[in-house]
């Protein structure tokens, strides 16, 4: 290869790399833009948004929209802010995540280490349950919650979320325990350990990563849920996403965009923090939930 053509090649290479960086940065801007808009405008007075420029930094910084979104904004009929709904969400998410994760771990343990005839059919049915459109269970679920007196309660929402999360949690743990050496279970059997002793002493201590993945997955899904929340919550159990939607889409009164943005960030904050703190596990959960059947 002559020196001249090599020169052209490197120049082309530099040009191509510059192009690649330009595209990558452009997309970073695209992904960051909505977040930027939300943050910046949640710190402006309302007038500045209406008259000014959404992309501009605040001329007059204020945290009033945040305070309003948290504790005084009009949501539905009462000016309570998002605080009580945030607490509703917490009270709904924590038990639902715990319940579905524990059951999923036990199911995965049984389905891989205590196999029985027809276990594949059981697993197949649980797996398929992950993918149903929840619209198909809305009417009967409402009916069951009504019959059991759980309609409109946080307990009812916890149950619904735990049950419809079971498919995924079982899938996660099953796939993880599938790779867990069965010889360890056999060794423990010979050592005389019981069903639960084997689970607690042998499998559980090695399950850290999959527990983190499952908890993050369930936490994100349940925290972000809107469908069940809007269908089954009552006056005292409305979760944050539903409250946020009510705040933003209420047809009465002045549209307080800055309060809406502050509220949206409040609603996004817990899952964003989880994502920032443990992004690796978050991505692994996404992949496990999406790619592998």
């Amino acid at each position: 290869m002559s020196a001249a053509s090599q020169d052209v090649a490197t120049r082309n290479g530099i040009f191509a790399r510059a192009l690649i960086y330009a595209v990558l940065i452009l997309f970073a801007v695209y992904y960051l833009l909505p977040l930027y808009v939300m943050v910046v405008n949640s710190l402006k007075p309302l007038d500045e948004i209406r008259q000014g420029n959404m992309l501009a930094l605040p001329q007059q910084w204020t945290i009033a929209p945040w305070l309003s979104a948290w504790s005084t904004a009009q949501i539905g009929v009462s000016p309570t802010g998002l605080k009580p709904y945030f607490l509703n969400s917490v009270m709904m998410v924590v038990p639902a995540v715990a319940l579905s994760t524990i059951l999923g771990a036990l199911n995965g343990y049984v389905l891989t280490k205590w196999r029985f005839k027809g276990d594949n059919i059981v697993f197949g049915l649980m797996l398929l349950a992950c993918f149903i459109p929840f619209q198909i269970v809305l009417i009967p679920s409402a009916r069951i919650l009504g019959l059991t007196g759980l309609a409109g309660t946080i307990t009812g929402l916890v149950l619904i979320h735990a049950i419809y999360g079971l498919g995924f949690t079982t899938l996660f743990f099953r796939n993880y325990y599938e790779a867990f050496p069965t010889e360890l279970v056999r060794a423990a059997q010979i050592d005389g350990a019981s069903f639960f002793q084997i689970f607690r002493r042998i499998l559980l201590p090695s399950s850290g990563p999959i527990i983190v993945v499952t908890v993050i997955w369930q936490f994100t899904n349940i925290w972000n849920d809107f469908l069940f929340g809007s269908s089954f919550s009552g006056f005292n159990s409305i979760p944050l996403t539903v409250a946020l939607n009510n705040l933003v889409n209420s047809s009465t009164g002045v549209k307080e965009y800055n309060v809406h943005f502050a509220g949206a960030i409040l609603a996004a904050l817990p899952t964003l923090i989880v994502y920032i703190v443990s992004g690796r596990y978050f991505v692994r959960g996404l992949m496990a939930g999406a790619v592998k059947g």
Binding site: I144, V274, L286, G293
Partner: protein
């Protein structure tokens, strides 16, 4: 040498069904029962409803046969919803796949700052569709959003009011949905690219293939399983799309952005047409199962080999 005693009966070691033996099944049973009732039982329940004349409440006293389905497919709102689903899912899947693959390939070029860029592309996946909807609803709002910004920067004639236009509103939902999911597709492709055997690429380089050729002829064809997974995930998300539409347009303007999921909700709980709502849910499930079941079958079947 073995002194086989013919009198000894063949001791069939049938382990006594002690509690310990049954324990695994006892542990699994509640979960399985819940799934059977709350998923499969409820599907049957909804299927029955779809053949009944239920209005405000489940009502199994009147049977209407396929009437709900006939009415459904003659209803303009359902037709709109199906059209929107077609537009939305095709654009959503194609654009997400394209952006996802492009970003993944670009990121795979030993990019400095990959550790910063990757999480930026992916964080929208951690957000609720409601939050995404709020952000894009106001950003695309002509009164305060993009149009307003452009005009205030001096581009007086700039007009972007798709979200208010019946013909175009569905595309704004595509924009927001792509924003939320494309980073995730990128992560799937990136994992796929990183999984390609380096020796294959080295062999192609020795054969004199250019980078472009290597991608076009070798690597992208190897990504077929990722394309398939991405398609299944995105199609499944598209058919279920509900939250984002509610937050951005609530189906408006008019009924311009109705989707099947929105239709089901509005008809069942808003218009007291439970029979039709159930029928629409059944159709949605059939659409999803048509995609998921063959996929799961091939995934599980393939693993056994």
């Amino acid at each position: 040498m073995a002194d086989l005693t013919t009198t000894a009966p063949r001791a069939v070691t049938n382990p006594r069904a002690t509690l310990q033996d049954l324990l695994p099944k006892i542990v699994l049973a509640p979960s399985f029962a819940l799934i059977l009732i709350f998923v499969y039982g409820f599907i049957v329940f909804t299927a029955f409803l779809s053949f009944s004349g239920s209005k405000l409440l489940p009502d199994f006293s009147t049977w209407v046969g396929l009437n709900n389905y006939v009415r459904l497919f003659n209803h303009p709102n359902w037709i709109t919803a199906l059209k929107n689903l077609a537009i939305f899912s095709v654009l959503y899947i194609v654009i997400c796949s394209f952006i996802g693959l492009a970003l993944a390939i670009f990121l795979d070029q030993k990019i400095r700052g990959e550790g910063v860029l990757r999480p930026i592309y992916l964080y929208p996946m951690a957000l609720s569709f409601i939050v995404t909807g709020v952000a894009w609803k106001w950003f695309l709002d002509p009164g305060i959003g993009l149009e307003h910004v452009m005009q205030s920067w001096g581009w007086e004639s700039f007009s972007f009011r798709w979200i208010k236009e019946g013909q175009m509103a569905i595309y704004t939902i595509v924009i927001a949905a792509v924003w939320q999911s494309s980073g995730f597709v990128m992560a799937m492709f990136l994992a796929g690219l990183r999984g390609v055997d380096n020796e294959i690429i080295k062999a192609a380089q020795i054969d004199g293939a250019s980078t472009l050729t290597i991608y076009r002829r070798i690597i992208i064809p190897l990504m077929r399983p990722v394309f398939l997974s991405a398609f299944v995930v995105l199609a499944h998300l598209a058919i279920k799309s509900y939250d984002l539409v509610v937050a951005m347009t609530d189906g408006g303007p008019g009924t311009a952005t109705w989707t099947p999921a929105l239709f089901m909700q509005k008809f069942t709980f808003g218009r007291n047409e439970m029979g039709m709502g159930a029928a629409s849910a059944i159709i949605m499930m059939m659409m999803i199962f048509a995609i998921i079941v063959p996929y799961l079958y091939s995934e599980l079947g393939g693993k056994k080999k």
